[in-house]
Every structure is written in structure tokens, then in C-alpha cells.
């Protein structure tokens, strides 16, 4: 009998701190699989951000630097410029990347830094207890939008992948989800593609992954997983938005 599914090498064999059903664990695994596939583990420098993503170094068996809130793309820029032969990826949530780190992500993307950004969008600040994020959907209740997000007061959820796709410096940008086996297989494919862009030195690559946050959404894992498809995928359309090299 042959083992047909196993833990990727780049992912440590440890228990994670993620809540039951949280997609972070799944996304971690997909990233680790992509590192394995391209044989990148030994030359990768991971850039951790602030939020539930901060413990990247506990879960990935790679060199990691932990960065201030939102600054991961700037730190990644410094790492990659100083060590161009390394493989550099950031792993950031929506609060980190789309609010406090807006300037850093836009300009790293616009410079076409040869890095890969994994953007986990769960429409909330998970680590701090479920506050409103830039990607919180209209009407969504959070601990700081208790009456539901209203566009008149809080603006609209930011579609980051579309925003970045408009920049000349961006070589590859896609939005994916891991809520169904079909979406998950596509997410796997797009993450690998994004990595391939960097491996081939083809410039800035970006993959948004829609994620659940059962605890802060006040749902069980299965309900939260369903919400990703029912509500998030409606507003945040899945797909490849930019693919300059046509890999």
C-alpha cells in the first residue's frame, strides 16, 4: 500500500494554534507543498507578519523574520535585494496588508520586487478578536462594527487583487479560496504558479486566498466554510487577474 497524501517537508510536524476549521492551516500546507515542489526549502526566507500569521516560524521549517505590522513587503524588499539568490515570500492577513500596510504592499508591487506575497483574506482581524477589517463585507457584524459595516461610514470592502493588478510592476495576481476541493486545487495551482514566477525571476507575484475565521465569525467550522463560498466569493471574485508571462 502506498501513501498518497502526506505532510510536506517544509511544514513542521507540530500542532498549530489555529482554531478548528481555520483555513490558515490549509493555506500553510499549500505554501509548504509549493516550497517542496520547487525544492525551495533550503534557500527560502519567510517573512512573517502580525496577526494569526505571526507564528510562521513555528510551522515552517525555513529561515523566518518576523516583521512589524504591515511592513512585511518592505522587509521582504530588503531581504531580497541583499540576498537575490534567496526565495522570499510574505504571508500576510487582511488587516496587516490591506490597512496598516497599504503603502508597503502597493509600492513593493509597483517596484516589481521579485518576491511572492500570500494574502490571507478572512474579512476580520482574527488575532485581536474579530474587529472590522478593510475587507469586512457590507453588513458584516464585527466587534467594532456591531451594527454591521455600512458603506456610508466605513467605506467598501477593498478588492486588493484587482487593485494591485492595475500596477505595471505586478507580474502575477490571482484570487483563490480553499473552501471546496475544487477551489483548493486551484489555489494550490495558483500558489505554485506565483512561486514559479519568482523562481524564474519574472517579478512580483501575488495570491489572495479567501479564508474562514470561524471563531470571530461566531460560526462553527462547517458554517464558516460555507460562508466563504456563499458571501465572500460573491464579492471577491475568484480568478487570475494578471498573468504577464503566461506560465
Amino acid at each position: 500500500m502506498q501513501q498518497v497524501f502526506k505532510r510536506p517537508e517544509a511544514l513542521k510536524d507540530v500542532q498549530t494554534h489555529f482554531c478548528p476549521g481555520c483555513h490558515h492551516g490549509t493555506i500553510h500546507r499549500l505554501v509548504a507543498e509549493a516550497l517542496d515542489e520547487f525544492g525551495l526549502q533550503k534557500r527560502t526566507i519567510g517573512i512573517a507578519s502580525i496577526g494569526c500569521s505571526v507564528f510562521l516560524y513555528h510551522y515552517f521549517d525555513i529561515d523566518v523574520i518576523e516583521t512589524p505590522h504591515g511592513r512585511a513587503p518592505a522587509v521582504a524588499t530588503g531581504v531580497k535585494r541583499a540576498k537575490p539568490d534567496s526565495f522570499v515570500f510574505t504571508y500576510q492577513g487582511d488587516g496587516d496588508l490591506a490597512a496598516i500596510g497599504t503603502a508597503e504592499i502597493i509600492h513593493a508591487a509597483n517596484r516589481g520586487e521579485d518576491i511572492t506575497v500570500i494574502f490571507v483574506n478572512n474579512t476580520t482581524y482574527g488575532m485581536t478578536g474579530g474587529q472590522m477589517a478593510p475587507t469586512t463585507l457590507l453588513g458584516q457584524k464585527t466587534s467594532t462594527s456591531p451594527y454591521g459595516r455600512k458603506s456610508e461610514k466605513e467605506g467598501f470592502p477593498v478588492r486588493v487583487t484587482e487593485l494591485l493588478s492595475g500596477l505595471e510592476g505586478v507580474a502575477f495576481a490571482a484570487r483563490t479560496a480553499v473552501n471546496t476541493p475544487k477551489n483548493l486545487m486551484d489555489a494550490k495551482k495558483q500558489i505554485k504558479k506565483a512561486f514559479q514566477y519568482q523562481v524564474e525571476g519574472k517579478g512580483f507575484s501575488f495570491v489572495e486566498v479567501l479564508s474562514s475565521c470561524p471563531t470571530n465569525w461566531g460560526m462553527n467550522a462547517v458554517e464558516a466554510n460555507e460562508r466563504v463560498g456563499r458571501e465572500m466569493c460573491e464579492y471577491f471574485k475568484l480568478g487570475v487577474f494578471k498573468d504577464t508571462a503566461g506560465i
Binding site: 500500500m1 502506498q2 501513501q3 498518497v4 497524501f5 502526506k6 505532510r7 511544514l11 500542532q15 498549530t16 489555529f18 482554531c19 478548528p20 476549521g21 481555520c22 483555513h23 490558515h24 492551516g25 490549509t26 500546507r29 480553499v178 471546496t180 476541493p181 483548493l184 486545487m185 470561524p214 462553527n220 467550522a221 462547517v222 466554510n225
Partner: protein, 68 residues
């Protein structure tokens, strides 16, 4: 015969595996692991596992290994 192994120390009982099993052969048990989660188990009685690995793909905790 294809089979899965669910690591009872890693399973958090989220149940996502059960939602995608085409043969409906994974169930949430009453068994509680060291973290206090009620864990998912293969319903041996079903015996219908085809080793498709969809459960393992969906598992956020890499708690499922698949053999075929």
C-alpha cells in the same frame, strides 16, 4: 484496500473532512483528544473509503494520511 489514518492528536474536530467525503465514511466521534476536541474517525463499518484524499486536502491540520 484504500484507507485513511486520522491523527487523533492533531484532529481538532472541525468536521470539514466529513463534508467533502464522497462516500460519507468519516464521522465525528464522541472520543475526546488531549486538547479537548471530539475527533473525526473513519467509519470502518462503511468500508467504502476509496482513497480519494479529498478529506486530507480539506483538513486544515494535516491530520489525515491517505494510503492506497
Amino acid at each position: 484496500m484504500p484507507k485513511i489514518e486520522i491523527d487523533e492528536l492533531r484532529c481538532k474536530g472541525c468536521g470539514l473532512c466529513a463534508t467533502v467525503c464522497p462516500k460519507k465514511c468519516i464521522v465525528l466521534s464522541e472520543q475526546i483528544n488531549n486538547l479537548g476536541y471530539t475527533i473525526a474517525v473513519l467509519d470502518e463499518a462503511g468500508g467504502a473509503c476509496v482513497g480519494c484524499a479529498l478529506c486530507a486536502e480539506m483538513c486544515p491540520d494535516v491530520a489525515i494520511l491517505v494510503f492506497k
